[in-house]
């Protein structure tokens, strides 16, 4: 699975090369919930409930049983990071895309970044300001 270092000699090398040969187990998504109106807030439970109801609508009970985790959620600006097994990524993404209302108010999920590595979501190259 992980091939590390070039094992010449016994002294520790200064850098380590890591090669992942299989696809990683989980995928991470950074998402943003947008409302047409302003001033709507929902807590983490309602947020997770919304995602599960979207999955249930599009993919039924099988979809609702997907192990989706909300790793972080910011209530102020409705940003969240989700973790999902790689086999359920397409299901989750399609369900998020097709969600359109929350309590009869129009809303939309924007998927900002996706990555198999959580650390990759720390920075966004699209937000870099170049001189």
């Amino acid at each position: 699975m992980i091939e590390s270092g070039d094992g010449k000699g016994s002294k520790p090398s200064s850098y380590e090369r890591i090669v992942l040969k299989n696809a990683s187990e989980y995928y991470y998504l950074k998402i943003h919930l947008e409302f047409e109106e302003v001033g709507i807030s929902l807590n983490a439970f309602e947020f997770k409930q919304l995602i599960i109801s979207a999955l249930k609508q599009l993919h039924g009970e099988v979809g609702a049983a997907l192990p989706v985790d909300v790793l972080s959620y910011e209530e102020k600006n409705l940003f969240a990071i989700l973790r999902v097994p790689i086999t359920g990524l397409v299901k989750l993404w399609s369900a998020l895309t097709l969600l359109d209302t929350y309590q009869n108010r129009k809303c939309a999920f924007r998927v900002i970044q996706t990555s198999p590595f959580l650390l990759a979501l720390a920075g966004n190259s699209r937000e870099l300001v170049l001189d």
Partner: protein, 170 residues
């Protein structure tokens, strides 16, 4: 040559309800299966399974039903069938369950399997029967079923061939 590939599900409906036989029809089975697919796999699954989905054959007396759907999505239908708990027909609910006997690519293979299966069931009955009269009756039907079955099989074989060519024309 290119054609649409289908999968045929040969299922038996198991029910202990006495009025079950008189009240089921193809439309009831059709609705029940579609509802359960919608419940298990949502809008997406329902849309996938609805392509070319149909109830090809229903025998209310033996409870045998033959369902057709596209090959690409047959696993969606397959995984939903065990979750059927009742059939709804004429505003009444009948408790039942579906037992998938065979999944075939053509109606002909399903028919072959069904004849084979029914013949085996007769032998099981013969082994388990208690009274002498029963035993003789079953032995008789085993013998007759071979002869009639073969004949019937040949004639129906041609029919199913015709149907297949019809399907491939579509």
């Amino acid at each position: 040559m290119v054609r649409f590939k289908n999968r045929y599900f040969l299922c038996e409906i198991i029910s202990e309800d006495l009025h079950f036989q008189q009240s089921i029809d193809e439309w009831a089975v059709h609705n029940t299966v579609k509802n359960v697919v919608a419940r298990m796999h949502g809008d997406f699954g329902l849309a996938c399974c609805s392509i070319a989905f149909s109830v090809k054959y229903l025998n209310a007396y033996t409870g045998i039903v033959l369902l057709r759907c596209r090959k690409d999505f047959h696993r969606l239908l397959w995984s939903s069938l065990p979750f059927i708990t009742h059939l709804e027909s004429r505003n009444e609910r009948y408790r039942c369950s579906f037992n998938t006997l065979h999944v075939g690519a053509t109606m002909r293979t399903c028919q072959k399997f069904l004849i084979h299966h029914n013949r085996n069931q007769l032998l099981v009955l013969l082994r388990n029967c208690t009274s002498e009269a029963d035993r003789q009756a079953i032995q008789k039907s085993v013998q007759s079923c071979k002869f009639v079955g073969e004949e019937q099989y040949n004639s129906e074989d041609e029919e199913s061939k015709d149907e297949e060519s019809d399907d491939s024309m579509k």
